[in-house]
Homo-oligomer: 144 residues x 4
């Protein structure tokens, strides 16, 4: 992933882990959901809560490809990173990574395609213009 990313650090919680003592894998998606919220708030300056709760625009996931490369254990400090891969008419493709915060070793990475929808109809709608504009200035993923 390019250096132009939006990043946040996070500690792996007891509640993130399973009886094997490592992150229960669906929990990575919960963590990344939080990262996208922070990105909308602090990176894109769009306001995720305002988008969803007030403007009634949803961002459901339509496609996901994830590779799990290393385990994250309870107490680990991890870095969550995000870059934009592609902006379409009504969809948005992201690259996301979870890395060890100290050594930068890759734990998990994924490509996620999100669609902008009306929360009234759950149908896809065009990306709102303020979001589109903000995405132009966002960190772009390197061409693979």
């Amino acid at each position: 992933m390019t250096a132009l990313t939006f990043e946040r650090e996070r500690v792996i919680r007891f509640s993130d882990c399973d009886p094997a003592g490592i992150v229960f894998y669906p929990q990575y998606f919960v963590m990344f959901n939080g990262l996208v919220e922070d990105w909308f708030d602090d990176g894109l300056q769009i306001g995720y809560e305002r988008l969803v709760a007030q403007r009634r625009i949803g961002l459901p996931t339509v496609r996901l490809e994830a590779d799990f490369r290393g385990v994250s254990r309870f107490g680990d400090k991890v870095k969550l990173a995000l870059a934009v891969e592609r902006v379409g008419e009504r969809s948005l493709s992201l690259q996301l990574q979870c890395l060890g915060a100290d050594k930068g070793d890759l734990r998990m990475q994924m490509r996620q395609v999100l669609v902008t929808t009306s929360l009234a109809s759950h149908q896809a709608i065009a990306i709102p213009s303020d979001l589109r504009e903000a995405l132009h200035g966002a960190p772009q993923a390197a061409t693979p």
Copy 2:
């Protein structure tokens, strides 16, 4: 997916849903995790809990490809289905689907690659022979 599948029905719970009133997508993976447990117990007759807690063999996910095609709402009855796509030396590839229980409309489908690991080392190990044997009798996914 072929008719030769392992299936379970389930109701979408309040706790599965997000402020948009639909299944919070990581929750699909939690549901499928339960389906795989049931499959090991009732389909393969291997005993998931015995495998993990007593034999100390893990089944972490190493690769996931998921497509979300339709929303599932609070109160919906869904059918979760699973078939084996491929059995490797140390890995196992599954096809999984979530369908509306009444109309059979596809809500979400995924391919999931699991690896058998030692829970002591978190390193991959060969699929145990009893599991390998049981997998031969399991429902196989149609060749795509």
Copy 3:
């Protein structure tokens, strides 16, 4: 608890457990939430989803007292049981228990006070008459 209870059995899932291999305690409340949904649907015949999503009546918890008496482990079969303790003007007090399904040993019990609210204002409202009627026929907890 009296014999007049609404009951459901459930298997403790991998996803219910923490790195200590036992139920992560907040997960008991998620399980009981599912029990209350089943009770509204199958016991009271009120329709939990219809109540919340269509009639826009919420049932938030205002008070909880819980005692944890024994651990539940991954793979355990447990029985979840519920009885009505008291029906007020705008609130409802329940007794809930989680027991081992085989030996009936108590794992956890709680008293939960729920309030009927308008989901528009999040303010308490009188218990709807159909719910009040259904509650009269529901299993009552023995006087302590």
Copy 4:
């Protein structure tokens, strides 16, 4: 609660909320679990992960009394606060609160009794001496 508390701020996430748009109540316990981890790490300087994963000492909850006073919505900034109420031979009683970060309005408060256990036997053990010492210097709840 006294001013002598351990505190952390947190944003209410989309994933914390239910179809009513407010915090799904079991999620408060997940949040408080994270607060206790932070308190052990940063306040008591004991190291929660080391305690649980390496020293194999558990801290299960045996008693809980919770009052829910106001709703927390998606996007809200909340303050989580904690004080010690009582230190016993093998148990520890805490007072915990969730408040609006801006106005300090009480959303939820609870008393939680934790027991120190051996994770080998799940039996109660005496509070380790380093933890006992650290607790003496910790913020104490005012006598009710």
